[in-house]
């Protein structure tokens, strides 16, 4: 070991408020670097499941004539599927990308202490994690969108067009934040040893009953289910994307979509930050 030099490289003149912002920004930089490094994981995780669903519903089913929407309606079905697929990918990515590392950081590795020693309040660490999860969710949406447009049976191309850019951006951002907030909530509630079970028990119904493969209006014959699905966050993201990408498909009113996505983000995020504080401030 050579001499342990302690000579200051810079002067310590900034205020605590400046220090908070820099710490927050540094954590975002850290998360972006990790996302970049693990981009292949993000791509695979985002693409595989929706790709298989799109492949089966928009390619296999129409080709074997098994789909209820086979024949002249098949194209319309692919059109329904695209916003649903993008929405479900975004929400699941948001949930998992925050929840999975958090479960480890809070328990086995106590890695969270590394962040807690930074000069910013603990709640800001939770907010940053939600923000980073939302970034991953948006990236996943960007990755899966073109793929879901391309994979379909010959002649059954979905008819997708961005009719309302501000609405699309608003839905995507609030939806991504909602997913990440739910991930934060799960990450602070769940017992780390049970998380694989949760993926099967919790996330599958979220997708299957989230108006991903059908618009919400189509549930009219099953009235009770139509009401129950309103408690599924996935519904609002899928319907919101329909409102901005395929407005001709019947969808939930825009005000309902946006207020539920934004309100849900605030409610889930607020509760998650509270639970996070309870877990980390011993």
């Amino acid at each position: 070991m050579t001499a342990i030099t302690m000579t200051a490289l810079g002067t310590d003149t900034d205020t605590d408020a400046g220090a908070r912002w820099r710490a927050f920004a540094a954590m975002v930089v850290r998360d972006i670097r990790v996302i970049k490094r693990d981009s292949l994981t993000l791509v695979i995780r985002s693409v595989v499941q929706p790709l298989i669903f799109v492949f089966v519903f928009a390619y296999v089913m129409p080709n074997i004539g098994q789909s209820a929407q086979a024949g002249p309606y098949a194209s319309a079905y692919a059109t329904i599927l695209v916003p649903g697929t993008v929405g479900s990918t975004m929400l699941l990515t948001g949930v998992i990308s925050v929840m999975q590392p958090l479960l480890m950081e809070l328990t086995y590795t106590r890695e969270i202490e590394d962040r807690l020693l930074a000069p910013l309040p603990a709640w800001a660490i939770a907010v940053e994690k939600i923000l980073a999860g939302a970034i991953q969710s948006l990236l996943a949406g960007l990755i899966v969108f073109p793929i879901s447009l391309v994979v379909h049976a010959h002649g059954f191309a979905p008819s997708i067009h961005v009719y309302n850019w501000p609405l699309l951006i608003g839905v995507a951002i609030t939806g991504a934040l909602f997913g990440a907030s739910i991930g934060m909530l799960f990450g602070t509630i769940i017992d780390a040893r049970r998380s694989p079970g949760l993926l099967a028990v919790g996330l599958l119904p979220l997708t299957m009953l989230g108006c991903v493969y059908y618009p919400w209006v189509a549930l009219t014959p099953i009235h009770w289910l139509k009401i129950v699905t309103l408690f599924n966050p996935m519904v609002y993201l899928a319907e919101g994307l329909r409102a901005s990408l395929t407005p001709e498909v019947p969808h939930l009113p825009v005000w309902a979509v946006l207020s539920c996505l934004a309100g849900g983000s605030l409610a889930a995020g607020g509760l998650a930050v509270r639970l996070f504080l309870r877990k980390v401030v011993l």
Binding site: M6, A19, E111, D114, P119
Partner: protein, 330 residues
């Protein structure tokens, strides 16, 4: 070497201790009720001191260091680092301290060098400065060839060195080390001791917790002996041993319980105290002469066989024994 430079302006003010703890209490709420981890701790560490918190596992050392480093909330009491209260100004405290916790809580998604770089960035350094600081510390801590390794690939000793390097990234004025040498081989421990001695020689205030008696004796200028959440004694090694009023400690081992009548020896001239534990008697005396004869007499009368006898100078082990009536188990 510019040791004083890692103490900021308020560090040099006369009269402000680096660490001040008054009446620190910590009560945990658990499913089975409340557990008092700390029951009124008082400590004061002046700037530049190498201070040790010594106690067996579960004594409350980690909880104390947790409160001092803002990771644990106190139930009552006042805790200040360079005059900044940990409960009202935790960010001010964090900006002046370096911490190593017991486990290796590295960022698992980052490399060795990045773990240092991002600690610097979290502490407000621009990326370029943080990277330069990381390179410098990797050199100083003999980790340069592991810079691109993942943290889980490090050996135990390397991981401990990286933890200390990470704690030094922002040039703290107080360094907190929670069991820095627990669970590593003796040779690596000696190496880490050299590192810590050097840091202290540079003027850094260090508070270290340890359950190794030897570590506290060899490194620390002052030591607080802590057990069951209370400070039992605090002072330099010679102050602590002087309080025993004994020059020698004779330890007599038996196959079973030592004869209770040995306690009567405490009344004799030159014998300061007698402590009986499971299978041993410890006689604290100003002079070992005459102690052995008396012990043999009492043991023979009680028809108890003596297995072994040793006479030693007072140490932290005897201080702990005298304070708690228990043998110190590391």
């Amino acid at each position: 070497m510019a040791g004083k430079e890692h103490q900021d302006s308020d560090a040099g003010e006369a009269g402000i201790p680096a660490i001040s703890v008054r009446g620190l209490t910590k009560v945990y709420q658990t499913a089975r009720g409340t557990v008092a981890a700390l029951r009124g701790i008082d400590l004061e560490v002046p700037g530049g001191e190498f201070f040790g918190l010594l106690g067996p596992n579960g004594a409350g050392k980690s909880t104390t260091i947790g409160v001092l480093t803002t990771l644990v909330k106190s139930t009552a009491g006042q805790v200040k680092v360079w005059g900044r209260d940990v409960s009202t100004d935790p960010i001010g405290v964090r900006r002046r301290i370096g911490v190593t916790t017991q486990g290796p809580n590295f960022d698992r998604y980052l490399t060795v060098a990045e773990n240092l770089e991002f600690r610097g960035r979290y502490c407000g350094m621009p990326g370029r400065v943080a990277r330069a600081r990381a390179v410098q510390l990797l050199e100083e801590f003999d980790l340069a060839d592991r810079r691109n390794a993942h943290v889980h690939q490090l050996s135990g000793g390397q991981a401990k060195r990286l933890m200390i390097a990470r704690a030094l990234v922002q040039r703290p004025s107080v360094l907190f080390l929670d069991e820095p040498t627990a669970g590593i081989d003796p040779q690596t421990r000696l190496h880490l001791w050299d590192v810590l001695r050097k840091l202290h020689a540079d003027g850094l205030t260090i508070l270290l917790t340890t359950h190794y008696l030897q570590e506290a004796e060899d490194l620390c200028e002052r030591i607080a002996v802590i057990d069951h959440g209370q400070v039992l004694a605090c002072g330099t090694l010679s102050e602590l041993t002087a309080d025993l009023g004994a020059e020698t400690i004779t330890t007599v081992s038996y196959d079973g319980e030592p004869p209770p009548r040995l306690r009567d020896l405490a009344a004799r001239d030159g014998i300061a105290r007698v402590e009986l534990t499971d299978r041993q008697a410890h006689i604290f005396a100003r002079d070992a002469a005459g102690v052995l004869g008396a012990v043999v007499d009492v043991s023979t009368q009680a028809a108890v066989a003596i297995r072994d006898v040793s006479t030693l100078r007072p140490s932290l082990e005897s201080v702990f024994l005298a304070l708690t009536g228990r043998d110190y188990r590391e």
